[in-house]
């Protein structure tokens, strides 16, 4: 397409493979307004704001019009301006305009476009009825009253994450975006990644705030409040104060938190280093024995929940390591009460994360021991920025301070965790030495870095070949899972992160006007890594001390208790059992057959039919309740059948019928 031009607002713009006029205009420095266009998502063409006028063709949407050489395009005619104004005015008419109290206020696109188009009054009346907010999720809040139906969240969830937890419901003026069957977000397959919130142009889906609880804790003299800061936060929070994406602001964050009232500030990179050692050893063990490969990373709580719902066959392959956030929590609650001379209940651990799924992770029951959570509060990067603002601190002029020891010590390996490929590279830096590479060998593995959502690398360390896959976006994870299952691909280690670009692109990060913000933040992390003297987790002296003083050997009982976890299959939808037969007798035998995906593949439908026929043949239908249920949460052992409370895994027809007969005769059931 070189040498071919379109004319936009009187200026010739050379085409270079752009798929639509909107991209060409952006290249020309014209920010065409839009709600529903996202370069990573499919073209939707719903909001009608990106209209342009093409000579001889009239008004079209630029997002869905391919550029053709010689086109003459105008972007701001009177007609276009009038259409855009009316469109925004109509959206505003039905929009809950509680802007001063909306957390999206500072970055709301509806607000900024209304201002941009000079809309001074809304001439139309509101016709929609106020709807209830969905606050069920630990990570996200949905406010349907602020939804403008651009569909960005729907497409992001479906196309990037491959999930589709929310979709359009109803039609015409009654359309809304909802989870399946109008359920709450907590009851469905949402993995809490928050990509919906980060693409939402308004405040219709926002990260669930926890700021209030943190303020209460820091102002409570009885409590010792400590913070852990995730790697990706330090290269992004500055954006809320006018700094460029990627600006490293670790020292300012530490100082700001102390001024707010935190008693100690630590680094999640410290436990990232700990993760590298535990996960690295686990990986080398598996690699030596050749079992449970590929090993999947387990740092990303969105991915972990996804795997529990969609990849139950692969759960044994997930690293058993807790995420760095949870390792920090359990270690802190184990060690620090004694250090501070307080009870466990009076130690408050606050995580500062780029992530919304971390809020959910902290609430997982396995991370709450005897009623005390390992991590009490999870703030997003945005919430940290808001607290700093509320405290009235002038971020840029804060004198940087250093973290508290020992959990503030980190290496470069723990810092690059926040970028896609970072965990892999950190593990390689550890594994290489264990595999016999010289101690001072170069530590950078640039072949695992990059911006693509699915990358592969093969490298040989001291004669050992390691095949790696690095993935972000759970849709890409699904592809890798399919290839592994079909035998098409064989890997040793697979890193999965839910968010585009890894944690730096997390849904808790500040809303950026820059399309390349994630890449710039990642660069900030890699720069930070380069400037650190120690860049391999095994060289972290505080980690070594922690093993010596607290944990004992790598893989010790205590290390296992504090740093590792278990996964279990998880239902995607709650309450959706199907009653197929409910007997009329007084005493009834309860029969449940799982018809979830895994069990269906393994023949549960056949079992169900067999059971039904058998019951009818024996004329016992008044004595039996049969339900088709959706998950016994043991998908790897399907098909699963439960008869009178007896759960039979890998159930065969003979087993099912025999158990049924046994239970019926034990009950003393008689034929009709």
């Amino acid at each position: 397409m070189k040498g071919e031009f379109v004319v936009i607002d009187g200026r010739s713009i050379e085409l270079n493979g752009e798929k639509n006029l909107l991209e060409v205009a952006r290249k020309a420095g014209i920010d065409i307004p839009t709600f529903c266009y996202h370069s990573q998502l499919s073209v939707y063409g719903a909001c009608r704001l990106c209209i342009v006028d093409i000579e001889g063709r009239g008004v079209v949407t630029s997002c869905s019009t391919a550029p053709e050489p010689g086109m003459k395009v105008r972007t701001n005619t009177d007609e276009i301006r009038a259409i855009r104004k009316v469109a925004v005015e109509l959206l505003l008419a039905n929009h809950d305009q509680s802007c001063p109290t909306c957390s999206k206020s500072a970055s709301c696109r509806l607000q900024s476009l209304a201002r941009r188009f000079g809309i001074e009054q809304v001439r139309y009346k509101r016709v929609s009825q106020p709807q209830q907010l969905d606050k069920s999720s630990y990570s996200l809040v949905r406010d349907p009253n602020k939804c403008i139906l651009c569909g960005d969240c729907v497409r992001a969830c479906r196309e990037v994450q491959g999930i589709g937890a929310i979709d359009f419901v109803g039609r015409g003026s009654h359309t809304s975006v909802q989870p399946a069957f109008g359920k709450d977000l907590k009851q469905v397959e949402c993995v809490n990644c928050g990509l919906c919130a980060s693409v939402c142009p308004t405040g219709a889906i926002i990260p669930k705030p926890e700021i209030e609880g943190v303020w209460k804790a820091v102002n409570d003299p009885k409590k010792k409040v400590i913070a852990q800061i995730a790697p990706a936060v330090r290269v992004a929070v500055g954006e809320m104060f006018g700094l460029a994406p990627g600006t490293i602001a670790t020292g300012q964050i530490v100082a700001a938190l102390r001024m707010i009232g935190f008693d100690a500030v630590y680094d999640t990179s410290f436990t990232a280093d700990l993760t590298v050692i535990e996960e690295g050893m686990e990986f080398l063990n598996r690699k030596t024995k050749g079992e449970r490969l590929p090993q999947f990373t387990s740092c990303c709580p969105g991915w972990v929940k996804y795997a529990e719902q969609y990849a139950t066959d692969m759960l044994p392959n997930l690293s058993s390591c807790k995420s760095p956030q949870q390792m920090f929590g359990s270690l802190a609650k184990h060690v620090l009460p004694e250090t501070f001379g307080i009870s466990k209940e009076d130690l408050v651990v606050v995580s500062i994360m780029p992530c919304t799924a971390k809020k959910f992770e902290a609430k997982r029951p396995e991370f709450i021991v005897d009623g005390v959570a390992d991590v009490d509060f999870v703030l997003t990067t945005q919430e940290l920025g808001l607290m700093i603002e509320e405290a009235g601190l002038d971020f840029e002029s804060i004198e940087p301070e250093s973290m508290d020891m020992p959990f503030g010590q980190k290496t470069g390996a723990g810092v690059i965790f926040g970028a896609t490929g970072g965990v892999t590279e950190a593990v390689l830096r550890f594994a290489a030495e264990k595999l016999g590479a010289p101690k001072y060998a170069p530590v950078e593995y640039r072949q695992v870095r990059g911006g693509e959502g699915l990358r592969e690398a093969t490298l040989t360390v001291n004669g050992v070949e390691l095949k790696l896959a690095i993935v972000y976006g759970l849709g890409n994870a699904q592809k890798v899972l399919d290839d592994i299952r079909s035998g098409k691909c064989k890997y040793d280690l697979v890193e999965v992160m839910s968010c585009p670009g890894g944690c730096v692109g997390g849904a808790g990060q500040p809303v950026s006007k820059y399309g390349d913000a994630s890449a710039r933040r990642a660069k900030g992390l890699y720069d930070s890594d380069k400037m650190l003297d120690t860049r391999r987790s095994q060289d972290n002296a505080a980690v070594a001390d922690t093993y010596k003083d607290t944990l004992g050997e790598v893989g010790s009982k205590l290390a296992h208790d504090l740093l590792h976890t278990k996964y279990k299959s998880r239902k995607r939808l709650s309450d959706s059992d199907m009653e197929l037969l409910s007997g009329t007798g007084n005493k009834k035998l309860d029969v449940k057959v799982c018809v979830g995906t895994s069990c269906m593949i393994r023949g549960s439908q056949h079992l169900l039919q067999g059971l039904m026929e058998h019951i009818e043949d024996r004329r016992m239908s008044s004595c039996v309740d049969i339900k088709a249920t959706f998950c016994f949460e043991a998908c790897d052992l399907g098909p699963t059948v439960s008869i009178g409370g007896k759960v039979i895994r890998k159930c065969t027809m003979q087993q099912a019928l025999d158990t049924l007969d046994e239970e019926l005769s034990a009950m003393g059931a008689v034929a009709d």
Binding site: G170, Q178, A180, F181, M578, G583, V595, S621
Partner: protein
């Protein structure tokens, strides 16, 4: 004994759903015909059956729910044995379909929100056009078309059915 047969039929229905999905090649592209056939079986689309269809087709339940709520043809709540569709298209509206609606609602104790009688005998809904404007105002009970209706004739039809069903 009666209720047992009804229950046993839910097993049959589930088998039928499996057959429907199979006969459509478990093809997610055939979601709409699948839902039509499933609705034919149940007279509406029960939530758990929709969840099952989604699982069987490998598509998100939210997408299936979205399709089911988009089309007026699909019902998510059980309908009565007799479905009355009263036309309120332009021609029927002008020929005074609303008084018919009000009369039927009064006779059946229904309103804008409650569209199905408690005994599950009748469902009353309005449609935008039945394409029989020459017979306006038109009403269809199950598949039987009744033209040139008036409030009293419409109520008489309903009374007839009630008498036939022995529920007067």
């Amino acid at each position: 004994m009666i209720s047992q047969n009804v229950e046993a039929s839910s097993l049959r229905k589930f088998e039928k759903v499996c057959q429907i999905i199979e006969s459509n090649g478990s093809n997610p592209g055939k979601l709409i015909p699948i839902l039509q056939q499933v609705q034919h079986e149940y007279r509406y689309l029960p939530e758990e059956v929709l969840a099952y269809v989604a699982t069987a087709l490998g598509i998100p339940p939210a997408r299936v729910y979205g399709v089911a709520t988009f089309y007026a043809h699909f019902a998510l709540e059980p309908k009565g044995k007799y479905v009355i569709k009263l036309c309120d298209g332009t021609a029927c509206h002008v020929k005074r379909s609303i008084p018919i609606l009000n009369a039927l609602r009064e006779r059946l104790s229904l309103d804008e929100k409650r569209k199905t009688t408690q005994d599950m005998l009748f469902t009353l809904e309005t449609v935008s056009c039945l394409g029989a404007c020459g017979l306006a105002p038109v009403m269809v009970i199950n598949d039987e078309v009744h033209g040139q209706m008036a409030p009293d004739t419409a109520v008489a039809l309903v009374n007839e059915i009630i008498a036939k069903e022995g529920k007067a």
